[in-house]
């Protein structure tokens, strides 16, 4: 039996998650030793015309053509991994859904707007069945390696379903709310080791919401610190706007 055939594909995104893979350094050679990368357009000219053992998909679905393409990739793949927030939850591309599509196209492309095919941004799992999710903008490499290993071994991987605060506390960061700054850590899925807060910034919610956020607790905190609701809403919409698609489908 040969090494598993793995392919990387990208849709609407910044390709930063692919770059995270290229940035693995020597670890990349170890990974490449265990798999056979058959397609990876950003760094390879080789193409593959058979099925994939694993397809790793980055980016959001934003055009009718992309829907057809992701469906074909799904048909050819035994396992499909969505990696990066654009793929797993729609990510920043979802902000487009804040606007009426006609308006934003006109705003951006003026009278040529009609030449632009665009649909509401959707995450990959909103279009096809996905076997593994690697959240994050960008992905956190230790988690990506964990998922890849699980996928190759046929084992499940469960994304942590507790908040970033859990990891943040372990990292002994001072809570940003105590400094008068809003942070989405309390409602955002952990798994990134509170990357941004460790570096002095806030959590922007790039990994998506926990499945059962403590809404009352959040409301208490927002009231206690007199934070305007529209500020929080705007922040929520930066990465999590696409979750609204789930409600009306």
């Amino acid at each position: 039996m040969g090494k598993p055939k793995v392919a990387f594909f990208d849709f609407a995104c910044c390709e930063g998650c692919q770059l995270q893979v290229a940035n693995m350094g020597k670890l990349l050679l170890d990974v490449l030793g265990a798999i056979d990368v058959v397609e990876f357009r950003e760094v390879m000219s080789e193409k593959w015309d058979q099925d994939f053992d694993v397809a790793v998909v980055e980016g959001s679905i934003t055009t009718p053509h992309a829907i057809e393409r992701i469906k074909k990739i799904r048909e050819r793949s035994k396992v499909l991994i969505a990696y990066g927030s654009c793929a797993t939850i729609g990510g920043v591309n979802g902000m487009k859904n804040n606007f009426k599509l006609g308006d934003i196209r006109k705003e951006v492309y003026g009278k040529d707007a009609k030449f632009f095919e665009t649909i509401e941004t959707r995450s990959v799992p909103q279009v096809v069945k996905v076997d593994y999710l690697v959240h994050g903008c960008p992905v956190y490499i230790p988690e990506f390696v964990k998922v890849l290993k699980a996928a190759l071994a046929g084992l499940p991987y469960d994304v942590p379903d507790y908040s970033v605060c859990v990891e943040c506390k372990l990292n002994e960061n001072v809570c940003l709310y105590q400094k008068g700054i809003t942070c989405l850590g309390p409602i955002t899925r952990a798994g990134c080791n509170s990357w941004c807060i460790n570096n002095g910034n806030i959590c922007y919610g790039c990994r998506g919401m926990v499945s059962n956020p403590n809404e009352n607790g959040a409301i208490d905190v927002i009231k206690k610190y007199k934070i305007p609701m529209d500020l929080i809403k705007n922040k929520m919409n930066m990465y999590n706007k696409c979750r609204e698609n789930d409600n009306h489908e």
Binding site: G16, K26, L28, E42, V43, G200, Y204
Partner: protein, 445 residues
């Protein structure tokens, strides 16, 4: 006219590989006459400028750096510069030094990726770096080691290279500790032998011979520093303007046969990037970088676009040496940690805000990048515009292709296709950027 030159050639490269983003090359020669010659941008549009409207200027850089994973530090810095210009904030000297350092790391990282992983396979006659793991194992290991080194420095400084965390409007949310300064310096010192080996390797690579005189555009200044983060906008045709007048530089226009907006200044087209910077400012490079330019035979004004890769190599040496100088200087004078900023969305009004219109002009790996924001009295973005290097280069690439194709009609279809792919790749195009910005107009495909 020879029989060969009366031939038909039809090149249609769909989804050009080893470039960032999605682009097609379409060339059609009938009876020896060039009918079509296009670099089509087919990247899915992402509407960033629209998404920025109504958002706080303090989250602009967090959003715009997500336009592109490769140039995310460059977008961050252009975005911050435009934002600070708009609200009237002047960053500290220490902040500027750290930003210049960050820009060097991005330049190093991006150029190394391009030289080793994207261009070298063409020059060594393989389809990607993967076969090189067997045939040139030491080279691949060195490439990955050097890339990782510049990444590790970014990790220490701003949390990560892809979508940097701590570089924001106002300064840095986390400043490097004494041991971080040592660690960064160590990594950079250790990179020197690898850089020497890279220069040796590059000297053995043979680039295609092709020339077309064009205008080169980039930052220029009157001081002795190789301008990356500040200065005015200038060209090899003698243009010099304030960055606020960037629209008079780019003069973007729409052509019916192309999917991307084109730019021109004094002639039909102009080029930005490492070769443009070299042509404008070669005299200001670090002495070690100058020596490398001499060694590889690169002299201003160089008009062979394939040698953009050689100019990137020269810049790698400059970035490594200049960043070591900056870091040694910071270490000697110590870091003023009182400058750490906690901003969030400026809930506490830490940074005073006034309405205004600001422009950022930063030399990122692929050339000069402009960000422009208009904000109201609360710092809410009313209008955003960005002009990215690849958009400025597309027109120049097409003009190169139009001159190149008739010159190589005696070659096989495969050779012509490869020559065109290599030409486009030499510009290191960042097609994600070019379409993620709203400059791209599909007029009629």
């Amino acid at each position: 006219m020879t029989i060969m030159s009366k031939r038909n050639v039809c090149v249609n490269v769909e989804y050009l590989t080893r470039v960032e983003g999605h682009g097609n090359i379409v060339v059609d020669v009938k009876n020896g006459e060039l009918k079509t010659c296009q670099l089509q941008i087919v990247e899915a549009p992402r509407f960033f400028e629209g998404m920025l409207q109504g958002r706080s200027i303090f989250e602009a850089q967090h959003i715009t750096c997500r336009i592109c994973g490769i140039c995310s530090c460059g977008h961050t810095l252009a975005s911050i510069q435009a934002a600070e210009d708009a609200i009237g904030f002047t960053p500290s000297e220490q902040t500027i030094k750290l930003r210049k350092f960050l820009l060097h790391m991005e330049n190093l990282d991006s150029h190394l990726l391009h030289i080793y992983l994207l261009v070298a396979p063409d020059l060594l006659g393989v389809k990607s770096f993967v076969p090189l793991i067997d045939t040139h194992n030491k080279v691949v290991r060195r490439a990955l080691r050097m890339k990782k080194a510049s990444n590790d420095v970014c990790d220490l400084l701003v949390g990560r290279h892809v979508h940097p965390i701590s570089s924001i409007v106002g300064g840095f949310t986390k400043l490097p500790k004494e041991k971080d300064l040592d660690a960064m310096l160590n990594i950079l010192y250790n990179m020197r032998p690898d850089m020497e080996a890279t220069v040796e390797l590059a000297a053995t690579l043979k680039f295609p011979e092709f020339e077309r005189d064009t205008e080169y555009v980039g930052l220029v200044s009157d001081d002795a520093e190789y301008p990356m983060l500040s200065g005015e906008v200038g060209s090899t045709d003698g243009v010099r303007m304030n960055k606020k007048d960037y629209k008079k530089i780019t003069n973007e226009f729409v052509v019916p046969h192309s999917s991307a907006k084109h730019a021109k200044l004094s002639r039909d087209s102009y080029a930005v990037g490492a070769l443009a910077r070299f042509n404008l400012n070669a005299g200001k490079l670090h002495p070690k970088a100058k020596a490398v330019a001499d060694a590889v035979g690169l002299k201003p004004k160089c008009i062979n676009p394939y040698l953009n890769t050689a100019a990137q190599l020269v810049e790698c040496v400059h970035s490594l040496e200049d960043s070591i100088q900056i870091m040694e200087d910071l270490k000697k004078n110590g870091i003023n940690r009182d400058e750490t900023v906690i901003v969030g969305l400026n809930e506490k009004g830490t940074i005073p805000v006034k309405p205004g219109n600001g422009v950022g002009a930063v030399e990122v790996p692929r050339g000069i990048l402009f960000h422009n924001y208009e904000v109201d009295e609360k710092g809410i973005i009313q209008k955003a515009n960005c002009v990215i290097p690849t958009n400025q280069n597309v027109n120049n690439i097409e003009h190169d292709m139009k001159k190149l194709v008739p010159e190589i009609l005696d070659k096989s279809d495969e050779e012509i296709t490869l020559a065109l792919e290599m030409l486009v790749r030499a510009y290191d195009p960042c097609i994600s950027c070019s379409a993620h910005f709203l400059d791209v107009k599909f007029v009629n495909l």
